[in-house]
Protein backbone atom coordinates (compact mmCIF):
# COMPACT_ATOMS: atom_id res chain seq x y z
CA UNK A 1 0.00 0.00 0.00
CA UNK A 2 1.42 3.43 -0.77
CA UNK A 3 2.23 5.47 2.28
CA UNK A 4 -0.82 7.66 2.70
CA UNK A 5 0.45 10.00 5.37
CA UNK A 6 2.48 12.35 3.28
CA UNK A 7 0.91 11.75 -0.12
CA UNK A 8 -0.66 14.93 -1.36
CA UNK A 9 -3.51 14.54 -3.86
CA UNK A 10 -4.26 17.19 -6.47
CA UNK A 11 -7.63 18.88 -5.97
CA UNK A 12 -9.30 17.33 -9.02
CA UNK A 13 -8.75 13.79 -7.74
CA UNK A 14 -11.92 12.46 -6.16
CA UNK A 15 -13.79 9.20 -5.76
CA UNK A 16 -16.26 9.70 -8.58
CA UNK A 17 -15.01 8.64 -12.01
CA UNK A 18 -16.91 9.52 -15.14
CA UNK A 19 -16.41 6.85 -17.80
CA UNK A 20 -17.19 7.33 -21.49
CA UNK A 21 -17.09 5.13 -24.60
CA UNK A 22 -18.47 2.09 -22.81
CA UNK A 23 -19.99 -0.66 -24.98
CA UNK A 24 -23.81 -0.41 -24.78
CA UNK A 25 -24.38 -4.02 -23.89
CA UNK A 26 -21.89 -4.22 -21.01
CA UNK A 27 -23.36 -6.14 -18.07
CA UNK A 28 -23.31 -5.10 -14.40
CA UNK A 29 -21.10 -8.09 -13.63
CA UNK A 30 -18.54 -6.95 -16.20
CA UNK A 31 -18.68 -3.41 -14.81
CA UNK A 32 -18.02 -4.66 -11.30
CA UNK A 33 -15.27 -7.00 -12.53
CA UNK A 34 -13.41 -4.30 -14.41
CA UNK A 35 -13.78 -1.53 -11.83
CA UNK A 36 -13.86 -3.72 -8.74
CA UNK A 37 -10.24 -4.82 -9.26
CA UNK A 38 -8.99 -1.48 -7.95
CA UNK A 39 -10.98 -1.26 -4.74
CA UNK A 40 -14.35 -1.41 -3.06
CA UNK A 41 -17.02 0.22 -5.18
CA UNK A 42 -19.53 2.47 -3.47
CA UNK A 43 -21.92 2.67 -6.39
CA UNK A 44 -22.15 2.54 -10.20
CA UNK A 45 -24.62 4.55 -12.26
CA UNK A 46 -24.99 3.60 -15.92
CA UNK A 47 -26.49 5.90 -18.55
CA UNK A 48 -29.74 4.57 -20.04
CA UNK A 49 -31.03 7.59 -21.91
CA UNK A 50 -30.16 8.29 -25.53
CA UNK A 51 -27.69 11.03 -24.62
CA UNK A 52 -26.16 9.19 -21.66
CA UNK A 53 -25.80 5.74 -23.20
CA UNK A 54 -22.22 4.46 -23.17
CA UNK A 55 -21.31 6.58 -20.16
CA UNK A 56 -21.27 5.72 -16.46
CA UNK A 57 -20.34 7.06 -13.03
CA UNK A 58 -18.22 4.76 -10.91
CA UNK A 59 -17.86 5.81 -7.26
CA UNK A 60 -15.22 4.20 -5.08
CA UNK A 61 -15.16 3.99 -1.32
CA UNK A 62 -11.59 5.21 -1.13
CA UNK A 63 -10.00 8.12 -2.95
CA UNK A 64 -6.69 6.32 -3.50
CA UNK A 65 -8.46 3.37 -5.15
CA UNK A 66 -10.20 5.79 -7.49
CA UNK A 67 -6.85 7.33 -8.38
CA UNK A 68 -5.33 3.90 -9.10
CA UNK A 69 -8.32 2.93 -11.21
CA UNK A 70 -8.11 6.24 -13.10
CA UNK A 71 -4.46 5.65 -13.92
CA UNK A 72 -4.87 2.03 -14.96
CA UNK A 73 -8.14 2.21 -16.87
CA UNK A 74 -7.27 5.13 -19.09
CA UNK A 75 -7.64 3.76 -22.63
CA UNK A 76 -8.63 0.29 -21.41
CA UNK A 77 -9.93 -1.77 -24.32
CA UNK A 78 -13.33 -3.42 -23.90
CA UNK A 79 -14.87 -5.18 -26.90
CA UNK A 80 -12.86 -2.99 -29.26
CA UNK A 81 -13.69 0.33 -27.56
CA UNK A 82 -11.13 2.37 -25.65
CA UNK A 83 -12.40 3.69 -22.30
CA UNK A 84 -12.20 7.38 -21.51
CA UNK A 85 -11.95 7.94 -17.75
CA UNK A 86 -12.31 11.36 -16.14
CA UNK A 87 -12.65 12.62 -12.58
CA UNK A 88 -16.19 13.84 -12.11
CA UNK A 89 -16.32 17.41 -10.76
Amino acid sequence: MNNRANVRLPPEVNRALFVRNLPFKITPEEMYDIFGKYGAIRQIRVGNATDTKGTAFVIYEDIFDAKTAYEHLQGFNIMGRYLIVLYYQ
Binding site: R4, A5, N6, V7, R8, L9, N14, R15, A16, P28, E29, M31, Y32, G36, G39, A40, I41, R42, Q43, I44, R45, V46, G47, N48, A49, D51, T52, A56, F57, I59, E61, D62, I63, Y88
Partner: protein, 48 residues
Protein backbone atom coordinates in the same frame (compact mmCIF):
# COMPACT_ATOMS: atom_id res chain seq x y z
CA UNK B 1 6.79 18.37 16.09
CA UNK B 2 8.90 18.75 12.98
CA UNK B 3 7.53 20.76 10.05
CA UNK B 4 7.31 17.56 7.98
CA UNK B 5 5.19 15.94 10.69
CA UNK B 6 2.96 18.99 10.82
CA UNK B 7 2.55 18.96 7.05
CA UNK B 8 1.83 15.25 7.07
CA UNK B 9 -0.76 15.74 9.78
CA UNK B 10 -2.44 18.56 7.86
CA UNK B 11 -2.52 16.52 4.61
CA UNK B 12 -3.78 13.50 6.53
CA UNK B 13 -6.57 15.64 7.93
CA UNK B 14 -7.40 16.98 4.47
CA UNK B 15 -7.49 13.46 3.03
CA UNK B 16 -9.81 12.38 5.81
CA UNK B 17 -12.18 15.18 4.93
CA UNK B 18 -12.11 14.22 1.24
CA UNK B 19 -12.50 10.57 2.12
CA UNK B 20 -15.40 10.82 4.55
CA UNK B 21 -18.08 8.18 3.90
CA UNK B 22 -20.64 9.21 1.29
CA UNK B 23 -24.30 8.69 2.15
CA UNK B 24 -26.85 7.89 -0.55
CA UNK B 25 -28.22 11.42 -0.28
CA UNK B 26 -24.71 12.78 -0.97
CA UNK B 27 -24.52 10.60 -4.05
CA UNK B 28 -27.95 11.62 -5.34
CA UNK B 29 -27.04 15.26 -4.84
CA UNK B 30 -23.75 14.87 -6.72
CA UNK B 31 -24.98 13.20 -9.88
CA UNK B 32 -27.59 14.05 -12.54
CA UNK B 33 -30.87 12.40 -11.56
CA UNK B 34 -32.19 11.79 -15.06
CA UNK B 35 -30.75 9.45 -17.66
CA UNK B 36 -28.86 7.17 -15.27
CA UNK B 37 -29.83 4.05 -13.39
CA UNK B 38 -28.05 2.63 -10.39
CA UNK B 39 -26.67 -0.87 -10.85
CA UNK B 40 -27.52 -3.25 -8.07
CA UNK B 41 -24.44 -5.14 -6.81
CA UNK B 42 -24.24 -8.62 -8.36
CA UNK B 43 -24.14 -11.36 -5.75
CA UNK B 44 -20.76 -12.55 -7.00
CA UNK B 45 -19.15 -9.23 -6.07
CA UNK B 46 -17.12 -9.16 -2.84
CA UNK B 47 -15.31 -5.88 -2.14
CA UNK B 48 -11.59 -6.45 -1.69
Amino acid sequence: MTPEAMNAQRWEHEIDIRNRPLTDEDLDAMFPTTGYRILEQPTTYQPI
